[in-house]
């Protein structure tokens, strides 16, 4: 670690100035229509009365209130609780699923770091499978946060690596290296966001407010690791496969036209659990822990193993280290 992430000011100055505007677009809309109450009547007036069941009316009202809410960072605790209650109710009304959305904050004294043992990874992609199930990734578009590259022994060369291998692994003379969001300490994706919809949390996880994202995809262009994914459609997850343990900044339902990314399983790791990928890895190639705890596994790896990071010369300090036995 070359910089101490805790002492750094969260790099969202641009976002803050945008957020501190007295009247933003959404609030202006809300004010114009006379707040939420008037909004209801406006929505109700627009639809034929006969077609409105009480449920669809409630859903429309909730969706309207969701539309004029603020950025997650500017919300008070009460506002956060309200929006979570609305989102949970909407999930019940629209999809008939009973989800629990957390708003757990970062633990003090914790910055997450990740280690990946390229001597151990065998390319089984169990991590990918776990990630899809855990994070409710779009089944129709087959979104995957994690990519596993198959490379020939001797050199790390992503230009000639194959991320789409589909044969019995490990293949003779090859090794495997996985990429995902590296949760950089100086994330370029956050710098370019024009609306402050993505930011770095105190525990080092870069998150996205899916209800604030405008889908411009600047962040996708800025990320040097291709870690972000765009939803061209509303993600489809069968109700039976839906993970109902969700986090507002993590694996809750995304919309069409917003960007999402790996968030180190924020709903699990903030409660002390391992990310799903680390827990699923059958080879033990994945090491996760608190960088600020000198007795953590990740610190032992950093102190005792040969380590490297990808594109270190960009100086964006990814918190994801590769190591060998």
């Amino acid at each position: 670690m070359t910089s101490d992430p805790t002492t750094e000011v969260p790099r969202d100055e641009a976002g803050q100035t945008l957020l501190q505007k007295r009247v933003d677009r959404r609030r202006a809309l809300g004010i114009l229509l006379g707040g939420a109450a008037a909004g209801t009547s406006a929505v109700a007036a627009c639809a034929p009365v006969s077609a409105m069941t009480p449920e669809s009316k409630e859903a429309k009202l909730l969706a309207w209130r969701e539309y004029i809410k603020g950025n997650y960072r500017t919300m008070t605790e009460a506002e956060r609780a309200e929006t979570i209650a609305r989102l949970e109710r909407l999930a019940e009304l629209k999809r008939g699923v009973d989800v629990t959305i957390q708003s757990t904050g970062a633990q003090p004294g914790v910055v997450f770091g990740y280690g990946f043992n390229i001597s151990k990874c065998k390319g089984f992609r169990s991590c990918v499978e776990a990630c899809i199930n855990e994070n409710n990734l779009d089944r129709r578009a087959a979104t995957q946060y994690i990519r596993i590259f198959e490379m020939e022994d001797g050199v790390i060369d992503f230009d000639h690596a194959d991320a789409t291998f589909q044969h019995e692994v490990p293949a003779e003379g090859h090794f495997y290296i996985g990429t995902q969001c590296f949760q950089c300490a100086d994330p370029p994706c956050v710098k370019v966001c024009p609306v402050g919809a993505t930011w770095q949390e105190p525990d080092g996880i870069t998150v996205v407010d899916y209800d604030w994202c405008i889908g411009c995809r600047y962040c996708m262009a800025a990320c040097p690791y291709w870690a972000r994914r765009f939803n061209w459609d509303e993600p489809e997850v069968p109700a039976a496969e839906l993970n109902t343990n969700q986090h507002y900044l993590g694996n809750r339902a995304r919309k069409a036209g917003v960007v999402e990314k790996c968030h180190f399983c924020i709903h699990r790791t903030r409660k002390g659990q391992l990310p799903a990928c680390a827990e699923a890895c059958p080879t033990g190639a994945r090491v996760f822990g608190n960088l600020l705890d000198p007795n953590s596994e990740i610190r032992w790896v950093l102190a005792n193993k040969r380590i490297f990071r990808l594109k270190e010369d960009l100086k964006i300090e990814p918190r994801f280290w590769y190591f060998t036995d």
Binding site: Q107, P108, G109, G115, N117, K120, F124, R125, S126, V128, A130, N133, E134, A141, A142, T143, Q144, I148, A163, T164, F165, Q166, H167, E168, V169, P170, W232, D233, E241, N243, N245, R268, R270, K271, G272, Q273, L274, A276, A278, E279, A280, C281, P282, T283, G284, V287, G289, N290, L292, D293, P294, N295, S296, E297, I298, W300, V301, N304, K305, D325
Partner: protein
């Protein structure tokens, strides 16, 4: 009539065998714990552990217990220990035969034990054959009785059964020091040669951690991933490859 009497006698022997095996195992487990109590790496209550564990943070959710497998406190081994001398536990392979083969992680079921002894071995417990007998080497019956064992590792190293298994009690492992380890503590045996792996295992760079990055650590033992007789992981077909992301129509 006479045949019936023989059957009854056989049943009695079998019953005696299993009960004595149980007593034996309980005894060794107790012995291990007693031995642990005097060591610096002895188990401490969860709360104390969490405090000792992290600088500021305490574990929020201690009730994380995927699967029904039990755990045993790890016995300390000379010369290697986890970072900060933190105590850790190893997953118990033989807790519940029904769940021993796989373990549920959140929403996926993962086959953690490639060769779980109790569930995979038809001959377990060993005392069903080995009761009161020593291991007999260089006997064709060994190969016949243990057809599910491929002896790659012993052939590579020139070992025999009794290099690792205690000759007088096959359910125990024989350490070079003359000590005996139960099958739950395979790492004590393996660490005698694979010391660098053992060090990395205790520190968290080799093998799997099961119960989270904070608070209690539960590790999988050596034999949970590696078949001791054939330690390399078996090749398999990976989970499906990613589809290349592209613009799609709305499809609605």
């Amino acid at each position: 009539m006479r045949f019936g009497r023989v059957l009854t006698a056989l049943a009695c022997v079998a019953l005696l065998g299993t009960s004595s095996a149980c007593r034996e195992r309980e005894g060794t487990a107790k012995g291990d714990r007693a031995e642990l109590g005097t060591q610096p790496g002895a188990p401490v209550p969860d709360a104390a552990r969490a405090q000792q564990d992290s600088v500021v943070a305490t574990r929020v959710d201690t009730a994380v217990s995927p699967g029904a497998l039990g755990t045993v406190p790890a016995a300390p081994v000379d010369l290697w220990h986890g970072p900060g001398d933190r105590p850790f536990e190893v997953a118990l392979r033989t807790g519940d035969p029904a769940s021993a083969m796989s373990r549920r992680f959140g929403r996926i079921t993962l086959r953690t034990s490639l060769r779980t002894r109790a569930a995979d071995l038809g001959q377990y417990p060993c005392t069903s054959c080995h009761l009161g007998r020593r291991i007999v080497l260089a006997d064709d019956r060994v190969a016949d009785a243990h057809q599910n064992i491929t002896v790659v590792h012993p052939q590579q190293t020139g070992g025999t059964c009794s290099t690792c298994h205690a000759a007088d009690n096959v359910e125990l492992l024989a350490l070079k020091s003359g000590e005996r380890a139960t099958l739950d503590h395979t790492y004590r045996l393996c660490a005698q040669c694979h010391f660098s792996q053992a060090e990395a295992w205790a520190a968290g760079a080799h093998g799997k951690r099961l119960d989270g990055w904070q608070g209690r650590r539960v590790l999988m033992g050596c034999a949970d991933c590696h078949d001791p007789h054939q330690p390399a992981l078996e090749p398999r077909i990976p989970f499906r490859a990613p589809r290349i992301e592209r613009i799609r129509g709305s499809g609605k």
